[in-house]
Symmetry: C2
Subunit: 367 residues, 2 copies
């Protein structure tokens, strides 16, 4: 087992990464203050891991809260089911909410914990690669609004993140790829030497090699913990973690939540950020192409939806949380391994980026 | 104008109290970071003060959000109207939400500010006595759930509280009385010398004497600021502010939100807390009776609803936020001017308190 620390003063917490951690009560008990525990999970994950975790927590009064699966359910109606369950079972302020599942479960259970009786403890137990390397760390929680993704939420830190790498064995291949989009992101924004390692280990990771995956998760969480430790509430640096996300969120909103996986949308969005960085002369077309190839080798889409116009993108991006006083700030690459957040770019470069022919670019890079 | 400070480190903020403050832009502008402002108010308050405040904020892009009036609307559906308006008008993370109204507006606007894009600035402009002396200070925000009051919310501090005492001129007499319940509470829990002052000034306050009201508001806010400064998130001392509230919340829940005003329910609940403190031998029956007379002189009910049984109370109190590991903690008076929060009382004293004949007690105290 590897353990990292997220440094946030009195809100600091550990990230444990390893095999079989779901069965180790000593990792959970230090973070449970009362006698009540609610395990929030979904219909897909519950049959796989709920029994194991419940057994690990014997001695506590455990309330299972099983939600429908999918980004389409990341809304108030589903959140309400958590409050209904907690109140129905009379859970008090010392209850601990455990999020057992992917990013949607973590975001919703975390937001429920942030709001229930104005805040109760919670523990993240992410079971997808994407949530293990990204959403479970850093305290962003929330739900979607019909007019925008993650528009309602809270910064609320977990007491611990417990990552059992065994849970990746049951993860569909498409979701493993989606997680790799965020892993590659860390290389692009702040860890250039990570990129050749990823290129080399890509087949091993996709083949579920435990060693390669553990190292990729650890390195990703360490990068995220560094960034979040500097800027917990995204007043500055933290926004670099959103490379590809502004374009990606627009894709997710346009296509309807769930049609594209978050990591898939981020992958296509990252290609657009690479293209724009290259048009600005900040990275070379060779560097752009190498990054696109790496994304594709992870099994990820590198072309935005064919029927999505520049107008569609602009419309959705106008409600992005990075808009300030009407200025759309974008995460771009000043060079490979260094991201910047900037509103200081020529408008026509953005428009050219939105209008670029990504299908042709992908075809030209071959298989 | 009087100014107090709530000391919470980097979350400290001023409370301004005085006449005509709604028309003074210099009190607002230091707390507005961007160009966008949303004024959240309700159908009753909007015709009275929205135009004045909008004029004060000329130069900003002002979005009015007018909600239905009343505690019955303090729920997710109404909260959603705020998010809809903010997103529809493309308000970004630098927007400032101003709560213009009573406690329900302050709680909902504050919770919306806490959650919108994971947190934007907000300013409290309370227009009822109750919200001026209580809910606008201290950062408790939230909405009700069908199974319990204020069960979903956040601790989220405003950037400033601006109390224009002129707004009390339009306040219905019944609501003025409701606010006096919380004013009297401060005397009972932590400021014994305040009580004879209140008894003397009660006719002046009920007659809207500006001097008496300003002093009562200032002294109440100062008491609240002291308590909140010691214990922002109610891990201990802060719970004393809930004198009468556990019984009172049960009354509100049983009767349906809005049938009893919050301050009215707190008044009857305070009588029950006085009765229980007296049964425990902590205060004398004379002290109990003097406090009940003071509440009645403020025009407040001192008898719980006739058809509410001890079972009704127990059922609603079981989901109180002060329940920990199944133990119901109550705010009681160790002596007049000193409240304690305790689960250490004989069960039969609670039951006798719930079963006591408050109608007879009130009749015996005469008019």
């Amino acid at each position: 087992m590897r353990t990292l620390q997220v440094d946030l003063g009195e809100r600091s917490y550990p990230i444990h990464i390893g095999s079989g951690l779901l069965s180790r009560p000593e990792l959970f008990t230090p973070h449970i203050a009362g006698k009540q525990v609610a395990i929030v999970t979904n219909e897909t994950v519950a049959p796989l891991y709920l029994e194991t975790l419940t057994r690990t927590l014997q001695g506590y009064s455990v309330l299972p809260v099983v939600l429908p699966d999918g980004e389409a359910h990341k809304n108030w109606e589903t959140l309400q089911l958590i409050f209904d369950a907690l109140l129905g079972a009379r859970h008090d302020r010392r209850t601990t909410v455990i999020a057992l599942g992917g990013g949607v479960i973590g975001d919703m259970a975390g937001f429920a914990a942030a709001c229930y009786q104005r805040g109760v403890d919670f523990i993240q137990v992410p079971t997808t690669l994407l949530s293990q390397v990204d959403s479970s760390v850093g305290g962003k929680t929330g739900i979607n609004h019909p007019l925008g993704k993650n528009m309602v939420g809270a910064f609320y830190q977990p007491k611990a993140v417990i990552i059992d790498t065994d849970s990746l064995r049951t993860l569909p291949e498409r979701e493993l790829s989606a997680g790799l989009a965020e892993v590659i992101k860390y290389g692009l924004i702040c860890d250039e030497p990570f990129l050749p390692w990823l290129a080399e280990k890509m087949p091993a990771m996709r083949g579920l090699d435990a060693g390669a995956l553990t190292e990729a998760i650890e390195r990703s969480c360490a990068a995220k913990a560094r960034v979040v430790g500097v800027d917990e509430r995204e007043s500055g640096l933290r926004a670099i973690l959103n490379l590809g996300h502004t374009f990606g969120h627009a894709i997710e909103t346009q296509m309807g939540y769930g049609a594209w996986l978050h990591g898939e949308a981020v992958s296509a969005g990252t290609v657009m950020a690479l293209e724009m960085s290259s048009r600005l002369g900040w990275i070379s077309t060779d560097e752009r192409d190498a990054a696109i190839r790496l994304l594709r080798s992870a099994g990820l889409p590198v072309v935005p939806p064919a029927d999505m116009t520049p107008e569609h993108f602009l419309q959705h991006m106008a409600v992005d949380k990075k808009v300030l006083d009407g200025q759309l700030r974008l995460v771009l690459l000043r060079r490979i391994g260094e991201a910047v957040v900037t509103a200081d770019y020529p408008r026509d470069v953005l428009e050219a980026t939105l209008a670029a022919d990504y299908r042709a670019l992908a075809d030209q890079l071959g298989e």
